[in-house]
């Protein structure tokens, strides 16, 4: 799993719990009904908003995306430059031998189209469609987490209102406001914490991964199309280097 994510969540909770301990009274922050209403309300709203399948799939989406590894761009460029050299020297059919060693299914599809002798335009069209719909499927995971993040403070507010109304309706003098208000506000605390330390940043990370994968796929598409067009290995490198920063380009000395 991504180190920054684990570190962020763990350190975040250490900072919060440390502050609470420093203030001195941690018992009041453990409040089961408050947890029930924030997590329960959020879960129910998410079930209504999304379909059952999408709802149950959220954990696997998160797991898969967090564990997923994109091929480093310099490696991608090297692979495509090699394929261009093979294709130029021995013809596209010679790529048949390489195809079994490729693990990425998107690259397999692209190279297969090269071998089938499809023209550049058809390849570009199909790969663009593929990128577009994969992006839409990826976007859903982020959407669910973002919805959860925006739902938490809402149900925290519902919980706080329940606490406040009950407390106020029983109160006989404003002197009693303290303890009841403290309990009611614990809901708001949970909502703010879960949204800002867990759901919203996790949704952001999913978006980052999805963007990285999209660039990776666009590099593959650019490389495959350049080979289909009959570009030289140098030309293929040129077209793929556009996607990475100038500084990194110097590190990437793809042998042509």
């Amino acid at each position: 799993m991504d180190l920054a994510t684990v570190l962020g969540v763990v350190l975040g909770f250490i900072v919060i719990i440390g502050t609470i301990l420093h203030e001195g009274n941690i018992a009041i922050f453990f409040n089961l009904p408050a947890i029930a209403i924030v997590l329960g309300g959020m879960t129910c709203a998410t079930m209504i908003h999304f379909s059952m399948g999408q709802f149950l799939g959220i954990f696997s989406v998160i797991k898969k995306t967090l564990l997923h590894k994109t091929i480093p761009p310099q490696e991608l460029i090297q692979i495509m430059v090699n394929y261009a050299a093979i294709s130029r020297r021995d013809g596209a059919l010679a790529l048949e031998e390489e195809i079994d060693r490729i693990k990425d299914p998107f690259m397999v599809k692209g190279v297969q189209m090269l071998i089938d002798g499809q023209d550049e335009e058809t390849i570009r069209e199909l790969m663009d469609l593929e990128i577009q719909y994969l992006e839409e499927r990826h976007a859903r995971g982020k959407k669910i987490l973002d919805f959860m993040g925006s739902s938490c403070p809402s149900f925290a507010m519902v919980g706080t209102l329940i606490g406040l109304i009950t407390m106020l309706s029983r109160m006989e003098s404003p002197d009693q406001i303290g303890a009841g208000m403290a309990v009611a506000l614990v809901c708001t605390f949970y909502g703010a914490l879960l949204a800002n330390l867990v759901f919203l940043p996790l949704g952001g990370k999913l978006g980052q991964y999805s963007k990285a994968e999209k660039i990776s796929m666009e590099m593959i598409a650019a490389g495959v199309c350049a080979i289909a067009k009959g570009e030289s290995p140098t030309g293929v490198r040129e077209r793929m280097q556009v996607f990475i920063s100038a500084k990194r380009r110097e590190q990437v000395k793809a042998k042509v």
Copy 2:
């Protein structure tokens, strides 16, 4: 009706009512004037915002969309692959026999254009227009529910302000603030609950259904256009598989 929607609403209200019962005083949460002002204000604002027809049609839109079933993508692909085989073997006119068995009116329209021998470009243009305007009509249902969801907390605030102002204007000492404030806040509670547990997630679900139907229609359009172009059954399958995830593609072994 969709299981997740029913479960979400029912469980959500159980969680909320359970928390209230646990706090101990449920009577104060039943407040007819508060319900009247939140639901009444929201209904009136919706009537002003939308036309009478749109307003009265919201229930049927919700019902129809929630009950609506889109054809599973694997089935869609199989059907189109079959049509491609028939069209290749016996010519597009042979599809005439199939057309009576199709239930989806969009697919009927597409196949009819194949039989009429329209060229790919015309078919694509008309089907795209059809998808675009259907989407606009579907979007309206979501817009009404979203407007309701954003209107609830506003009228809840109006109701709370009426309660607060009346209570404050009569109050002789801050000791009396409790009970009056509790009643005023019940409005805010209704607004937050209706918006976050009912209207906003229902609007979200409508959006999900509408998106699923759009993808279904785009798959049909891609299939029909591929057949019009004279693609082989394998080619039709290739073009339609772009819309579904890699994992699902393996399940879908459309016989060619």
Copy 3:
């Protein structure tokens, strides 16, 4: 005027006033300075934001748009199908006789271009420009109402702050907070009510009307272009039916 709009505003105020009367103290809700600051501040901000002409024109824009009637789509389709038949039978020049009976200036323009023998591309380009700029002119009315709706709560807050600050600066004990606070909050009440029951939903309705008119114009443009292209009456009907729902299409049995 649109029935839903009138009903919505009238019923909305009945609900609000009914709730106030039920609470029992309506006198405190009549507060001239509060009305002055909310409506006055909003009016001044609107004058600064928009030009004098736009500001003074808002009433006529609202009136015209609310009274405006778009031609029902089924009628539009029938008219265009008839024109296609005439144009096919007797040539485009025969439409000259029809042109005096058309009331809609946009349709007049389209038919005139048909008579002038303009080609489809020129007609499409000019009609699209016309639709685009009409839309921009219509959007301004909605923008003014939306600005008013968002300005009301802001000046309500300014008014409430003036009341609060004055009250707090004179207060000698927290026991006096009640009455002063009630007066200050009346401003907030006006702001929330005017924004959510009047300006924002009225702006929404303007948007609905503008969208309906746009679709009407797009249908006319589609029909005129189809005639210019020499489509048969059936073809014209096909192209215009895209804009209406499947259910309505069955009602529309435009005689060809």
Copy 4:
């Protein structure tokens, strides 16, 4: 300067000061530290957000834009119709005599390209680029004012927090809350007033002017391109009338 802007600002402050005087205690609303923190904080944040040149140029941008006059559309149409007549009668070179009388630099550029005998496509491309980049330069003035408008309430909140914290830390009994709170809230009052009566509506007006100028430039571009295409004066009028409302078109009887 635009009358509506002056009237709006002056009347707005009269309404606010009138309400304060009616409440009776204007002294408390004059609070130099509150003004310092709201205006000072906002100015510093604006300096960080934008570059020194943009920051110092804001006053001249506002002045220039508010004093700027766009040519009325009917006049624009008449001028272009005349040019079309000259160009048709005596050739584009005959426009050379007119060019010295044109004040608008954008129109000069367009007519110069006509004289140079450039084709329609080149003229359209260059004029579109010019419109696009002028729009971007104009948008910056609006962005600075909008940023100022959103910055004011933020620094007002910072000021109110400073006041509140200081007051609360010294308070010995809640009875003292009144006066201190009043002073702290004056900051919030300044922030809300400056944002909603000055910066946000001024930014809106800049946007209106910029849009009016854009339409004016698009009309010139449409006219020049129509002349380059060899359109008749009537054709030029037709193409330029698209930009104005039907009602105004009747007023505009550009002599052909």
Copy 5:
């Protein structure tokens, strides 16, 4: 470093600290746990949202961008006009001598393509891709700062809630509310200050720099493409001047 940025931050803190000193009690505003929770929480959320590399790179991105200098537009135009003259007189190959003196890597790439004799379309396509992906890389820095700016007030709220809940749960009478509330609100103060005086305006400045660099690159692309098309030096100047304001154009008397 940019003068406006330094001045803005320094003056901003002087204004804030000055106001605090004027109020008289600066000690209460130094509160280590409050700083820890706002900065700590924000840092952890940023680590979760972005990847480790992006998180650690934020300081170098800020530094590089703030120190970065774009070539003034008038200089850019002069350089490109000179290249056009050389290219016209001695052919594109003669630009080989100039290429060593160019520092900007984007301009080097463009001129290299001129020397290689690539056609205008290929150059435009590659340079546009380059601009697009550079923009995306630059946008990330702004995104991180904007996320930090929106995260600060959230964790400030979490901190304030911890303080409030602890204080309320221990409070025996409302008379004690003052001091505890003051401490709790210091968190909110930090959050508002850091967001509005540091992170959000810094993010805005990054956006300004990125936009300036984008325009600079678009000017180079326009110039190189014009040279590839064989435009005269005057034509090159014309096409590049579109990007700068009319006032500045007079200052720029690029010798042709």
